[in-house]
Amino acid sequence: MAAATEAGTNEPGPPPLRRGSALARQRVRAAWLFLAPMLLVLALVAGWPLLRTFWFALTDASLTDLRNYAFVGLLNFRYLLTDPDWWLAVRNTLVFTLVSVSLETVLGMLIALALHARFRGRGLLRAAVLVPWAIPTVVSAKMWAWMFNDVFGIVNELFLAVGFIDAPVAWTASPDTAMAAIIAVDVWKTTPFVALLLLAGLQMIPEEIYEAARIDGVNPVKVFFRVTLPLIRPALVVAVVFRTLDAMRIFDLVYVMTGNNRTTMSMSIYARQQLVDFQDVGYGSAAAALLFAIIAMMTVLYLMAMRFGREE
């Protein structure tokens, strides 16, 4: 999951040689040779399976025998778009994405600002912030499921003691709180990552700008909104975009905490349930293809926006 989030948008590096010379042509040939193995493997593990998923989406293939199937056209998509469970999964995914990414951005910004300040023990805190990020998602899900346990969980204990709740709550089992519990775990796990990206952005802002504001006695809150926020915008946009695309495909956290439960089912969970549990490869592939289309559309929009931003 974190795999994709590091990417950026560098300008191409300096071409060391002029194009057109024999030496340059030789270098380009060599470059393609160096690229070839990676491109072949990528085509095998990404391109081909993706095309097969699109193809399966148009058939009635079943997991028990992937060789015999019939072409059914857009039938799977017709069923999909009339299935209330699919729309519920879409809704759940959107709610999850919107709420968790917003919380992660705001909290991540606060943490980044705190870590940017100079104080004793900053190294320790910076290391502590990396801990949730390093913990496998499945493990975080289990740890929090234990803390959220309705009878023995420490969350209930704490909230009862402080008086937030009057009686123990079955956080992950109750339809009213299950999504909130999942979002809480995701926020805990992913905010550090957002904070680190933003911190790197903060560290690129020259100190002098702040000194000028300090001498003029500008209110720190005003400094943040007038100076810091505009300057950190590129890092903020990248963090939000990658987190959004990542949240849209959420699977493991939901699967471990609430299984295939309808009230929290995400699009990925829905697709996998159809595909593996119900062995309906055709229908499951249709759901997966639709999720892919949504994410692809968002990616294209982002890339276009970025390109326009650069041309300005």
Binding site: P12, L35, P49, M143, S268, R272
Partner: protein
């Protein structure tokens, strides 16, 4: 909310308002601000570290002690740790995870360092579209390749074998490694290469002799991040393996079950969680700077 909760919330709000409003003398505002700042840091520290601490504490408790909410484990018991290795093939699961993660990292680093040289150092037509395609692949939802990958895994006879995971994990480690290594490759000074070219070095020699040693730190960073991604993967591991002996650690932990759905052996689950997480936390603490550099490579410069 009870009286204490309200009181705490109200005093926090009041202090915050006073600190920002400018009604108080400067000295007091600064003191309040500093107190608030330290409280915030303490809260942040507890928030990030407590859940794992609690898992450690719970893993050291058995029987009815498990249901205690005392913060310190009195008379720690190691039964849970013994039980996950004796009653379950947890050692085997851990070995599986290591094998899969190491092989995935090795293959993706080898393929991507060559590709990164081409993408980062040579200017050729179609480079930018290629880079963006690779970036786009890293955004693929895994579920979108699941059915096609299932077919591929079966065709190669890899179903319920670790090879299926090495193969399928390349879908996310490879584009990511190419992207990060390319951004590191670009930062190397171009004079390096020019001298070698003037000396008539061939491209392969150039990569092996000049870039590989210089890229070693970047490859450590990239390899670590890819390792963590492979170590944590769940969806493919859940789908492409069937028997307990072939499972990787995340799947093993997710599927630990008790006598009934209502009697999960939480002590065992927490012990297993601690065992798989401790090495990762150590790695992250040791390579903290590298990891942060890798995570932000490229991302901020956009």
């Amino acid at each position: 909310m009870g009286p204490w909760g309200w009181l705490a919330l109200a005093s926090l709000l009041l202090a915050g308002l006073l600190a920002v409003s400018g009604r108080l003398p400067w000295r007091w505002r600064r003191r309040l601000g500093r107190l608030g700042f330290w409280l915030l840091l303490l809260l942040l520290f507890l928030y990030t570290v407590f859940p794992f601490y609690w898992a450690v504490v719970s893993s050291l408790r058995t029987g009815s002690a498990l249901f205690s909410t005392e913060l310190w484990p009195r008379d720690p018991a190691w039964d849970n740790y013994l039980s996950i290795f004796r009653e379950q093939p947890f050692a085997r699961n851990t070995l599986n995870s290591v094998l899969v993660a190491v092989s995935t990292v090795a293959v993706s680093l080898a393929l991507s360092v060559a590709a990164a040289y081409a993408l980062g150092r040579v200017s050729f037509r179609g480079r930018m579209p290629l880079l963006f395609t690779i970036l786009a692949v890293s955004m693929f939802p895994q579920i979108a390749v699941l059915s096609g990958m299932f077919e591929l895994v079966r065709a190669f006879g890899l179903y319920n074998r670790l090879g299926s995971l090495t193969l399928s994990y390349l879908v996310f480690t490879l584009p990511f490694s190419v992207w990060v290594l390319t951004s590191f490759m670009r930062e190397l000074p171009k004079e390096l290469e020019e001298a070698a070219i003037v000396d008539g070095a061939r491209p392969l020699v150039l990569v092996l002799r000049i870039f590989l040693p210089l890229m070693a730190p970047a490859m450590v960073t990239t390899g670590l991040l890819a390792f963590i991604a492979a170590w944590n993967e769940f969806l493919f591991a859940l789908t492409f393996t069937l028997s307990t002996e072939q499972r990787t650690v995340p799947v093993a932990i997710a599927l630990i079950s008790g006598a009934s759905a209502y009697e999960l052996p939480w002590g065992n689950i927490m012990a297993a969680s601690v065992v798989v997480t401790l090495p990762l936390i150590l790695l992250v603490l040791i390579f903290q700077r590298r990891i942060v550099a890798g995570l932000t490579a490229g991302a901020v410069k956009g």
